[in-house]
């Protein structure tokens, strides 16, 4: 009862509801623009959250994510170009439906399914985050070290691409994490006498550079996208019969979305393709798939909606970002002095409750804005690319500068953009680098703190039960990734469906 009153007080006394509207609206716009992923959309907002209260700031970012996951499906359906990576699966049947003149229906199904997915996702977040994080007090320095190692081991299991490239990216991230004041002794490292570097490089600057700036560099060298035809500027929601038919793919989508969201490193793109595959497998209308099946739109969009929420679980309860978007959210929390992980739920329960309250109304807002903003999305998709790019570029530079009035930070973002551009050219994934960057500090400081505690006895990592469990899991992750090629030989059929999603995921992560 008390909790309910607190939630209501959030709605009544704070800017919560307007903030959710702003976040979802911005998310839909960012998601609808091809090339602007949810993580970029969120990264662009970060500087504006600086003066907000921490609760509103993370609510804004989380609702942006929810909006972006839906926004991405609009160009996927209308011009066969996914606005976000995870909407790639939606193009398969969504565009077919559009060709049959059922664009309004496809967008309606996408919106309806996204909202269902979000609700399921939020319920799972509320149910699982607290119990997981209640273990906070059990976490000793060796356990934190092993948790960090578990997070880093995700690099090995990231699907698609070369493990070598992922490792290089991961090490780059770890290297950047060592800049600044030594966590145990207090000595300055790699600061070259620059006081700007004393407190290290803020992960968010690197992320904005990697995701957003490098994307701009890339876009400026590419061709413009196809124009969307006018005409489908309103949404048609599915009728009762269709809603019944969609229950099955939506169930599949939300289960897969929940699972993939909780598993660090999996992310929305894989979830969407898996959901599409499974919805196909279990459908009564298999033949319609690929030719404009409503179920083919509903399953991936439900999965996307669910992942957008459940990806918060590993981030909130352990501080491990499972996707680019949750890494940006984590960066946004860090600049407000909130350190995601077991401690957060103990120290700032109000912030978490606020986040839940904000997310609970995000799907409702999504329904409203999804309908209202569709014409705007179509208009945006049709603007000449160079104007958009110039606008976003100005937004990034002024936004980053406004946080600390520091040109040094702007320089770091631009440098990170160049690094990101080079990494794109070499097809190196970004997530390992972000993981290294975010987890490097925790791994190092906990490792050395444990050794100070134990008097340089390395057994401390095996004596702590939680630490041992995490190290074991990490070993399974790494071992599993090494065994995967072997499994592919044994089950060629699964490999085929899997490789579709792998390929998409690989591009998705970029």
């Amino acid at each position: 009862m008390h909790t309910i009153l607190q939630v209501l007080s959030f709605y009544g006394t704070t800017m919560m509801i307007p903030v959710v509207f702003a976040g979802v609206a911005w998310g839909i716009i960012g998601g609808a623009l091809p090339g602007i992923s949810p993580s970029i959309t969120m990264a662009l907002l970060i500087p504006f959250t600086y003066t907000m209260s921490p609760t509103l700031a993370i609510v804004l970012l989380a609702s942006t994510y929810v909006g972006a996951e839906y926004g991405g499906s609009v160009p996927a359906i209308l011009i066969n170009t996914p606005g976000t990576n995870s909407a790639a699966a939606t193009t398969l049947d969504g565009y077919q439906m559009k060709l049959q003149g059922r664009a309004a229906e496809a967008i309606g199904i996408s919106l309806y399914s996204g909202v269902i997915g979000s609700f399921v996702g939020i319920a799972i977040v509320v149910l699982l985050t607290q119990p997981l994080a209640r273990m906070a007090l059990l976490f000793t320095p060796p356990a934190y070290f092993s948790l960090g190692i578990l997070g880093l081991s995700v690099i090995a299991s990231l699907s698609g691409g070369s493990v070598l490239k992922a490792l290089i990216a991961g090490v780059l991230g770890l290297m950047i994490a060592t800049i600044g004041t030594d966590p145990i002794s207090g000595v300055s490292r790699f600061t070259f006498g620059m006081s700007d570097l004393l407190s290290g490089i803020k992960p968010i600057l690197i992320m904005v550079g990697l995701f957003a700036v490098s994307e701009l560099f890339l876009q400026s060298s590419g061709a413009a996208w196809v124009k969307a035809e006018e005409g489908a500027s309103r949404v048609r929601f599915p009728n009762a019969r269709m809603r019944r038919r969609l229950i099955r793919p939506q169930f599949i989508g939300s289960v897969i979305g929940a699972f993939e969201g909780i598993m660090p490193g999996a992310g929305g793109t894989i979830a969407a393709f898996l959901a599409y595959n499974e919805a196909h497998r279990w459908s009564r209308h298999k033949d319609e798939f690929g030719k404009g099946s409503p179920e083919g739109v509903a399953a991936p969009e439900t999965a996307n909606g669910t992942v957008a929420c459940t990806t918060l679980i590993p981030m909130l309860s352990f501080g491990i970002p499972g996707s680019n978007s949750s890494a940006v959210l984590l960066g946004g929390m860090l600049i407000h002095g909130l350190i995601p992980g077991p401690q957060l739920l103990q120290e700032s329960p109000r912030v978490i409750l606020g986040l839940y309250s904000g997310m609970a109304i995000a799907p409702v807002v999504l329904v409203i804005l999804g309908v209202v903003m569709l014409p705007l999305c179509i208009w945006m998709v049709n603007r000449p690319q160079h104007y958009l790019m110039a606008f976003i570029y100005a937004l990034i530079v002024s936004g980053v500068y406004s946080v600390d009035q520091s040109l040094f930070d702007v320089g770091i973002v631009l440098a990170a953009g160049l690094v990101g551009f080079a990494m794109r050219l070499f097809a190196m994934p970004f997530l390992p680098m972000v993981l290294g960057l975010v987890l490097g500090y925790m791994v190092e400081s906990s490792f050395r703190r444990s050794l100070v505690l134990s008097g340089d006895d390395y057994h401390i990592f095996l004596q702590d039960p939680i630490s041992l469990a995490f190290l074991g899991l990490a070993a399974i992750f790494v071992g599993g990734a090494l065994l995967a090629p072997l499994l592919k030989l044994l089950w060629p059929k699964t490999t085929q469906t899997r490789s579709v999603s792998d390929g998409a995921a690989k591009n998705g992560e970029l």
């Binding site: 320095p141 004041t181 207090g186 700007d196 505690l453």
Partner: protein, 316 residues
């Protein structure tokens, strides 16, 4: 945004008419107070509370500006480059001395002038409520017999210095485990990873009220008014006293009338009943140090800290 509006309203009010005072007016109408801490944390709250009560006393408008980053080096640099006309000051804490020593920035604590001290934060030794340690003597017994584990916050913190000095004074070989901050340390104290921790009494208040931790000793020279039953470290037999100061500094070459105005203003504001109520609830102890003594105090603190850093191998 709201803050900016309030500032401009205050500014407008201040410019409306000259205050009706007999004494010599402060040379400037608007004073900028810099801090390296971000909005809502330590020094920022200190400055904002102070300016609320000091504004009417000194008849000036205060504007708090947060210059974060570089562990205070940026804010100190901004201060050092400002004109010494009484229009810009900076909130001092041990941090600005530590940063000066650790990272050798272009402008150090020696390039600015300590003005006056206002408060001391009380550093205490605490342990978890259900721990076997009832007194500081119990802690020392464990440290002598086996190997004590003592937790401090960041490596360059005053808390770490306090523990290293205590370790030396007691002649024990306890492991002094540094953390990323107070919250981090608290978890390790609560789950028993470390025997004791050192922290500010005011910051521990929620845990104390919740019965989660127990305070064993205080590092101040005298017992705390808020907790008169807790012995000091010194009376427990270890000659260690720690003073976490909170005051102000200005650019070098401050005119005498400015210094005088601040000395009077701070002494007056510490007597203000409204302010008194506010800082008592934050468990801040008023610790006024006049300008001349404060310069000597900060310089002494600087050289002590430098010696400590060299001894522990943090700097060469």
């Amino acid at each position: 945004m709201l803050r900016k509006c309030l500032v401009s309203v205050a500014l407008a009010l201040a410019l409306c008419g000259p205050p009706a005072v007999a004494q010599e007016a402060y040379p400037v109408k608007v004073v900028k107070l810099l801090t390296h801490s971000s909005p809502g944390s330590g020094s920022d709250i200190f400055l904002r509370n102070l300016s609320n009560y000091l504004g009417p006393i000194m008849h000036v408008s205060f504007v708090v500006e947060n210059i974060t980053g570089g562990g205070g080096a940026k804010a100190v640099a901004a201060l050092a480059k400002s004109p010494p006309d009484g229009s810009v000051f900076y909130a001092t804490t041990p941090t600005y001395v530590f940063t000066s020593l650790l990272s050798h920035p272009e402008h150090t604590y020696k390039d600015v002038e300590p003005l006056v001290n206002v408060f001391t934060d009380q550093e205490v030794i605490f342990t978890r409520a259900d721990s076997p340690f009832k007194t500081l003597a119990d802690v020392m017994k464990t440290a002598k017999e086996s190997r004590g584990k003592w937790g401090a916050s960041t490596p360059g913190s005053l808390e770490r210095q306090a523990l290293e000095r205590l370790k030396k004074a007691a002649g024990v070989n306890a492991a002094v485990v540094t953390h990323d901050g107070g919250g981090d340390l608290l978890i390790d104290v609560l789950n028993g990873t470390v025997d004791i921790g050192v922290g500010e009494y005011g910051e521990l208040k929620p845990q104390l009220d919740g019965g989660k931790v127990r305070v064993l000793a205080v590092f101040s020279a005298n017992r705390l008014d808020a907790a008169p039953d807790i012995p000091t470290v010194k009376e427990s037999g270890y000659d260690v006293v720690v003073r976490k100061f909170r005051g102000l500094a200005g650019p070098k070459g401050l005119p005498d009338n400015v210094i005088k105005a601040w000395e009077d203003g701070i002494q007056k504001v510490l007597q203000d009943p409204g302010y008194k109520k506010e800082y008592t609830s934050d468990v801040l102890t008023p610790d006024y140090i006049g300008h001349d003594d404060y310069v000597a105090f900060v310089n002494q603190f600087g050289s002590d800290t430098e010696a400590f850093f060299k001894e522990t191998g943090v700097i060469k």
